[in-house]
């Protein structure tokens, strides 16, 4: 049930998505990954990819154009 953070501020597509995919591989089932982004495309493709892979996803806006994507690894 550990929590990890992935700082993707200032990174454009497809870097946040590829980094998320790689990082999530290292996590155990039940762990949470928080991806911090400020790129609007990543706001679409990161949650989309995670949901397609049956992970629990929640998005929170933490500032103007800044988001935290919470991904609970379920599989």
């Amino acid at each position: 049930m550990a929590e990890y953070e992935l700082d993707c501020l200032g990174e454009a597509c497809p870097v946040p998505l590829v980094k998320t995919e790689n990082k999530l591989k290292e996590l155990e089932v039940g762990d949470t990954l928080i991806v911090i982004i400020d790129h609007s495309c990543a706001l679409k493709n990161v949650p989309e990819w995670a949901r397609k892979n049956n992970h629990e996803v929640e998005v929170e806006e933490i500032g103007d154009g800044e988001y935290e994507i919470f991904i609970d690894k379920t599989a």
């Binding site: 501020l9 200032g10 990174e11 870097v15 590829v18 400020d38 790129h39 609007s40 103007d64 154009g65």
Partner: protein, 181 residues
């Protein structure tokens, strides 16, 4: 209306905040392409005007592009004789930037992004030069040559698409290799 209630309003969310679907985007792009051809007589292009702007600047400093092959066509010559505000493609490019700014402000997502490292700057400069040069020798970018090519039922658009995918494949391999560390 309080700001907090505006940001949770479902119409505000749907119109300004959430990204529109690819299908909505595709339909709008098609409608605007038709409007563009109808009103200006030529298809949508983005990078063509960059060369024209360069030529205008060069001419302003006393240079001459009269004998450049690139501007030897009728269209090329005509573009040199226009000014920024009489050139539909130039004004449209300005519109793209102003529109994007407006959209990001309406969604309150405007932000000056931090530059992560020098490598990012180097990649942006090299990438920009390669894309600009490539778009000119290919007589168009992914808009003028690909999107407008295909929507005008030209085979060249499909050929462009094929090689663009090959380029994107190689590019994404390089990106993963040099930017994922």
């Amino acid at each position: 209306m309080k700001l907090s209630s505006l940001s949770s309003n479902k119409h505000f969310q749907a119109w300004f905040k959430s990204p529109w679907t690819y299908v909505t985007g595709a339909i709008l792009l098609s409608i605007f392409q038709i409007a563009t051809i109808g009103s200006t007589g030529s298809s949508w292009g983005v990078t063509g005007p960059f060369a024209t702007w360069g030529a205008w600047v060069y001419q302003a400093f006393g240079g001459s592009v009269d004998h450049w092959y690139f501007f030897s066509t009728e269209g090329g010559q005509a573009s040199l004789e226009r000014s920024f505000f009489t050139d539909p493609a130039s004004v449209r490019n300005l519109g793209v930037i102003v529109g994007a700014l407006l959209a990001t402000l309406l969604a309150s997502q405007f932000k000056f992004k931090k530059i992560k490292n020098l490598r990012q700057v180097g990649a942006a400069v090299i990438g920009g030069l390669l894309m600009g040069y490539g778009a000119r020798v290919a007589f168009g970018c992914n808009i003028g040559a690909l999107y407008s090519g295909i929507s005008n039922l030209s085979v060249s658009g499909w050929v462009f698409a094929l090689f663009m995918f090959a380029g994107a494949f190689v590019g994404s391999k390089l990106l993963v290799r040099y930017f994922m560390a």
